[in-house]
């Protein structure tokens, strides 16, 4: 009885938060709703006697992955979605028909096929969800997938770094114009190229130094001029 109530509570929370993820126009609100879904699913894992997976769900999903997503949302300063005219409007009725067909199939399976399968096979007092049983399975029978996973993570690290890296020209420019928000800051790469003697010249420390010096002299001149004007 109490498990039934818990299931209904957390299932409702999961579905409500999931709908909120889709409906919200601001991605940050969507991310917060998604955390709600993850928490609700972690609670459902607990009702399924899987405490380890529940803990990992909270730590990895609600913790690490969502922090990454929220960080990117903040970093990119994403504005709210704008309503755009729908392309391929003719496909909307076809989509509705297909969705109804799919819902009908799912209902058929749940009500007619599902009823013939004996449910509640669950034997009480097993240690299936415990950390030790998961660790044993992971390091004996499923050792190869586990190791392949580590290779996958390594590739993901390298891929993420090489994707998000700026190209080599950008970093010294940022150093030169750091803190300078005037439109003149945009001209700095051009100065840099001139200083490097040839636009395609290999980027050297000497060129950066010369460009920085020129930039400093230019700023100093501008300041002197301003003082004189006053």
């Amino acid at each position: 009885m109490i498990t039934g109530l818990l299931f209904i509570l957390f299932a409702g929370m999961a579905i409500g938060c999931a709908i909120s993820v889709v409906v919200q126009r601001n991605p940050l609100y969507g991310a917060i709703s998604l955390i709600g879904v993850f928490i609700a699913l972690a609670a459902l894992y607990l009702t399924l006697a899987a405490p380890f997976i529940a803990a990992v769900q909270v730590i990895v999903y609600a913790g690490a992955i969502m922090v990454l997503v929220v960080f990117v949302i903040m970093l990119l300063n994403v504005e709210e979605e704008v309503n755009r005219p729908l392309r391929l409007r003719a496909l909307v009725p076809i989509g509705i028909v297909l969705a109804a067909l799919l819902a009908g199939e799912a209902a058929f399976i749940l009500y007619f096929v599902g009823a013939s399968v004996s449910e509640t096979i669950n034997a009480a007092a097993s240690n299936v969800g415990s950390t030790s049983s998961i660790g044993t399975g992971l390091f004996t029978e499923y050792l190869l997938p586990f190791e392949v996973t580590s290779a996958l993570i390594l590739m993901a690290i390298v891929g993420a770094m090489s994707l998000a890296r700026r190209d080599r020209m950008a970093t010294p420019t940022a150093a030169i114009t750091g803190g300078d928000s005037t439109p003149g800051a945009l001209a700095a790469p051009i100065n840099l190229r001139i200083a490097g003697e040839g636009a395609n010249a290999e980027f050297s420390t000497e060129a950066v130094g010369r460009a920085m010096a020129q930039e400093a002299i230019r700023k100093l001149d501008a300041k002197k001029q301003r003082v004189e004007e006053e």
Binding site: I53, L110, V128, G129
Partner: protein, 100 residues
């Protein structure tokens, strides 16, 4: 004890919401979050079957799915940042150069 079909129905509903989100959303990060939602719906199915059949394999698969999701998050967000840097927008309709 709750029947297994309840969990499967909840999982199907969550997965469907995720699919609908991927289809109707135009914001790359929102689409990304809907994909995470679909992965979680599948995880719920795995854990439900694992618990009802008394077999730990399903939970091991959930563990591996979570790892893949983490890797996907890192690479996917890297791609989104690169697209934003080039186009000043993460609307997927703006990144359509490869589309006929």
């Amino acid at each position: 004890m709750i029947p297994l079909s309840w969990y499967l129905a909840l999982s199907a509903v969550l997965f469907t919401i995720g699919v609908v989100g991927v289809i109707i959303k135009r914001n790359a990060i929102a689409m990304f979050m809907c994909i995470e939602l679909m992965l979680n719906a599948v995880n719920l199915t795995f854990v439900a079957f694992s618990s009802y059949f008394n077999d730990v394999t399903g939970q091991l698969f959930v563990f591996i799915v979570m790892t893949v999701a983490a890797a996907e998050a890192a690479v996917g967000l890297g791609i989104i940042i690169t697209v934003f840097r080039n186009r000043e927008s993460i609307d997927v309709d703006d990144a359509s150069v490869l589309k006929f």
